[in-house]
């Protein structure tokens, strides 16, 4: 095991996984509490469409992933704000449209490109030093902004209208959150892939939700679970030669069900049922 850890590629993989796991699980707290779960799924598929267009045209794939991701979340936020359409409907339309574009762009490529599929399914073991630098820079940026605006983000997750009425610039903070979700998805594409990044945003925060009644503790638990499952998932992937994305997500799912079973909230619900 220690031999494996001496390899550069393994050290890069573990570092990338830890950063992505921590980032996804922290932003996941706000996504889960604000009810934006489906936005994460839609954004990841939109970002993948950007990657495929990048490879098709010979443009930087991550840059196009950011453009597609941001366009999707901003259109979704704008539509919800105007009250023209429910959030799940608008994101559903954009989700499928961008996925169709992604498939179209792959179809237009003249040859098979394995790197594109790496972004779809995740390939953390092949993260390059340059990609690690991009992941590191975006992780610091997103976590920094989350920390800077954490009190406002918690408030809009609790009740956006009450936050606005209390003097918090809630609308701007909501769009900031959507922007950070899009950036998080792009950061995570190479590590866990477009399909599974959604799980990394959702599962650690949902697991922590089972274990505490406090916002601060919820964030701490979620980050711990996210980092632990990502690192352990990469190690499992390396030792048993299984794909890294599924290893991380299935480990996170296992912990989620254990948390549901031992949740203090569940015990309280059972007590309430028996007392009636």
């Amino acid at each position: 095991m220690l031999d494996l850890l001496a390899y550069d590629f393994m050290q890069r993989s573990l570092l990338a996984a830890a950063m992505v796991g921590g980032l996804c699980s922290v932003i996941g707290v706000f996504v889960v509490l604000r009810g934006l779960a489906f936005v994460g799924a839609g954004t990841s598929h939109a970002a993948f469409a950007g990657v495929t267009l990048g490879y098709l045209m010979g443009w930087p794939p991550l840059l196009l992933a950011i453009v597609f991701g941001l366009a999707t979340v901003w259109i979704t936020g704008w539509v919800e704000e105007r009250g023209r359409m429910k959030l799940d409907v608008s994101i559903g339309i954009l989700y499928t449209t961008t996925m169709a574009l992604g498939i179209l762009f792959i179809g237009l490529m003249k040859s098979y490109n394995a790197e594109v599929y790496g972004y779809l399914f995740g390939s953390v073991l092949s993260v390059t030093p340059e990609e690690l630098s991009v992941i590191g820079a975006l992780t610091v940026l997103v976590l920094g902004l989350l920390l800077l605006f954490s009190k406002e983000l918690y408030f809009i997750a609790f009740d956006q209208e009450m936050a606005e009425a209390s003097g918090v610039p809630a609308r701007q903070i909501f769009f900031l959150l959507l922007t950070l979700v899009a950036l998080t998805v792009v950061v995570s594409l190479k590590t866990v892939g477009a399909i599974l990044v959604f799980a990394m945003i959702l599962i650690p925060a949902s697991t922590a939700y089972q274990l505490t009644h406090s916002l601060a503790t919820l964030t701490l638990y979620s980050a711990t679970i996210g980092i632990f499952t990502s690192i352990t998932g990469v190690l499992i992937s390396a030792f048993w030669d299984v794909p890294s994305g599924p290893a991380i997500v299935l480990l996170a799912t296992t912990i989620f069900f254990i948390a549901v079973f031992f949740s203090p909230k569940r015990e309280r619900r059972i007590r309430l049922v028996h007392s009636h």
Binding site: L33, L148, F149, K151, E152, Y154, F155, F158, D159, E161, M162, A163, E164, A165, S166, G167, V168, P169, Y209, T212, H213, S214, L215, A216, L218, R268
Partner: protein, 263 residues
């Protein structure tokens, strides 16, 4: 008779809603500092719209609304922080993973502004607000573990932590048992008396508030009355709004389906 005081909230022929769907039409109303106002009217009469306008969440489509001498669409964040708000029950997820103290601390965020972290002073203000509503011993409890009446107290404390000049309460007694309803209204009265807050209280329970408020504002898309309760609670005025004859007795208010048959 004109009032020599300057109103802190002034509606001037203001209408609210969307073109083709006006929720409130041609409202002219002045609210003065320290007043306790009850806002009544049937469902869909525009009560919540009126309050959302005062919160700066809605601008008039016609006319003007001034709050603290500012046009409501120019209301800055620090002005909004002076208005405490208790939304209708059901608007907020009461099972949100948050402690009582964390909930009340949110009342400080608007006044603090961006980039500043809450400090010891803010924590003290939040704990004092909890003490004012009698919930200081529950500060570390989960919000979801509390009863409906206790949760309303916590939300009132959250509004008080803003150190507001105006407190808006949207149907604060809905869904509570009779004792809890009475306790919440008693608390609101006490806050008005002790802190000299301007209070706008939306309710359907006229009996519960009619002896406590300075004025009742009676709405049904238009403003039908804004006067002391004795002047508003007259059968001929109430009939116009509720479409039923209402008999006011010495102690109670009874809705009578067929007033003439009743006599």
């Amino acid at each position: 008779m004109s009032d020599p005081r300057e109103p802190i909230i002034r509606f001037d022929h203001a209408s609210f809603g969307f073109p083709g769907l006006i929720a409130l039409k041609d409202i002219s109303l002045a609210i003065y500092e320290g007043e306790f106002i009850g806002i009544i009217g049937p469902n869909g009469s525009g009560k919540t719209t009126l309050c959302r306008a005062v919160l700066g969440l809605l601008a008039p489509v016609e006319g003007h609304l001034h709050i603290f001498d500012c046009a409501c669409d120019e209301l800055r964040c620090h002005h909004r922080a002076k208005i405490g708000y208790l939304p209708q029950k059901g608007v907020v997820d009461r099972n949100f993973p948050v402690t009582v103290l964390e909930t009340v601390m949110m009342g400080r965020y608007g006044a603090l502004g961006l980039f500043k972290r809450p400090g010891r002073k803010d924590r003290d203000i939040a704990q004092q607000a909890l003490a004012q509503v009698g919930m200081d011993s529950h500060k570390d409890h989960s919000l979801g573990q509390l009863s409906g009446g206790q949760q309303q107290r916590v939300f009132i404390a959250r509004a008080l932590a803003q150190q507001p000049k105006v407190l808006i309460l949207d149907e604060p007694t809905t869904g509570l048992d009779i004792t809890a309803q009475h306790n919440v209204i008693e608390l609101v009265q006490q806050l008005h008396d002790e802190l000299k807050l301007t209070i706008l209280l939306i309710t359907h329970d006229i009996n519960m508030i009619r002896s406590r408020v300075d004025r009742l504002v009676l709405l049904k898309t238009r403003l039908f009355a804004a006067a002391p309760p004795a002047e508003v609670l007259k059968p001929e005025i109430l009939h116009q709004v509720y479409g039923k004859d209402l008999v006011i007795t010495e102690k109670d208010l009874v809705i009578v389906e067929d007033y003439h048959h009743h006599h």
